[in-house]
């Protein structure tokens, strides 16, 4: 198994989870209703937890410790897709991103449960239940707001249209795609993308929302190779502010 390929896979997953987890945690205390505030915050916490598991795995492979990796890198050293770094916007966008991202993330973990790299397959089996809940949560809200009122449908449609090219960018193929598939580590981004399209289309078909044509959309890529929007660095500065004051502080 090629370590470089494995590390690339782990880094992009971990960075997606950390950045989206941090973004979604920005809603803590400001959610649209108390119960949803708690649920959304809790799922954000799950995401950060997943990234920790991935960073620990990378540490086992010789990378720096999780705190250093999470808090001390510059934006261009991050491998997350641009989708997860976009500002939270209004709640319709955050919900739509949560829906689009976690449909794919659940399938990713289901595929990785069968990975030939045992630490990853064990982690995926263990954590996929949490993602199952994230998907259930997203589906309920998307079905409600995608059918409710003219305003809710318009807002969700606008968010879907805006988010969709970025969401397609989650599946930017890695340069190690073939090696990962050959070694049985992961079935590949293209395979995952097809399953993702199928999965989220099924839910959106139960709403008034129109899915953009994936063939006609140009995916927003670049995040995997460190090309980011202007939104990532300020996020990192804010996230790491306390850690950088005193990296040895105990919590």
């Amino acid at each position: 198994m090629k370590q470089e390929a494995l590390k690339e896979l782990l880094y992009k997953m971990a960075d997606d989870q950390l950045i989206l987890g941090h973004r979604n945690s920005e809603w803590t205390g400001m959610g649209p209703l108390l119960e949803e505030d708690i649920a959304f915050s809790s799922m954000a916490q799950d995401k950060v937890g997943h990234s920790l598991v991935m960073y620990q795995m990378l540490h086992q492979l010789g990378e720096n410790d999780p705190d250093t990796v999470a808090f001390m890198r510059h934006a261009d050293q991050f491998h997350n897709c641009q989708f997860v770094e976009l500002p939270i916007g209004e709640y319709d966008f955050s919900l739509m991103r949560h829906f689009l991202f976690d449909h794919g993330e659940l399938i990713r973990f289901e595929l990785l449960a069968g990975s030939s790299y045992e630490p990853l397959s064990l982690a995926a089996k263990k954590l996929k239940g949490e993602l199952r809940y994230h998907k259930m949560h997203a589906d309920v809200f998307i079905k409600k707001l995608g059918n409710a009122t003219e305003e809710s449908i318009t807002r969700m449609q606008r968010s879907l249209d805006y988010a969709f090219p970025f969401a397609m960018g989650i599946y930017e193929p890695s340069p190690f795609e073939e090696s990962l598939i050959e070694d049985g580590v992961f079935k590949g981004e293209n395979h995952l993308k097809d399953l993702w399209l199928e999965s989220m289309t099924k839910v959106l078909n139960e709403t008034e929302l129109k899915i953009p044509d994936p063939e006609a959309v140009k995916p927003v890529v670049g995040g995997r190779t460190g090309k980011h929007t202007e939104h990532l660095q300020p996020l990192l500065d804010e996230m790491a502010e306390v850690f950088r004051v005193d990296p040895t502080a105990e919590w």
């Binding site: 209703l33 108390l34 708690i38 649920a39 799922m43 809940y133 309920v140 409600k144």
Partner: protein, 203 residues
Amino acid sequence: MESLDPRVQRLNIKQDGKDFPEKPELDQWITYEVFVQLVEDKPFRHEGIVHACDLDMAFILAKEQFTRRYTCSGIAVVATHEIWVSPLTEDQESVLDMDPSDWPDAGKEGNYEVCLLYRRGKQHEHAGQIQANSSKDAFRMTAEAYPGDAKPIYNVWVIPTDKFRFSTPEEKEIWDTLPEKRFREAADYKAGDKLTNFKNAIK
């Protein structure tokens, strides 16, 4: 006063609060009652309420409100207004000894879930399912079946089974990692110990 929270600063809220739209009074969703089963084979116990627009939303919100710690094997949610509630008794008086003839009735023939309050100030526990002609009929049947020498029951809830949303066996995996989520327990932060150590260190 300006907030130190960068998220709040980004909202650019005007100090006079005029940015907030006026909301009509009581503009909120109805309530749903949440029951939690901590481990398999133990009875479901009433844990609290969530606001929601329907059963599915009540279910997903209940999961994070009431099953974030310890263990969970299943949850059940039902709209508050679907619950038939008996009067409340205290001390040695058991509500099951009361004559329900004059009480209002509800529901039609079908299956009902019966929940009993064993101790005042505690939560209702699921006691079992019963086939009955109505809610009050289910209460009567419960009273007849309940051993006369057992401890008093202070309140009874009767709920039509088909009004519930129960978690399914396949959904159980959403609680798989729960026992390991120690970081969500207040005690796990050991704040008291840290404070003591800090105080000792600066002495």
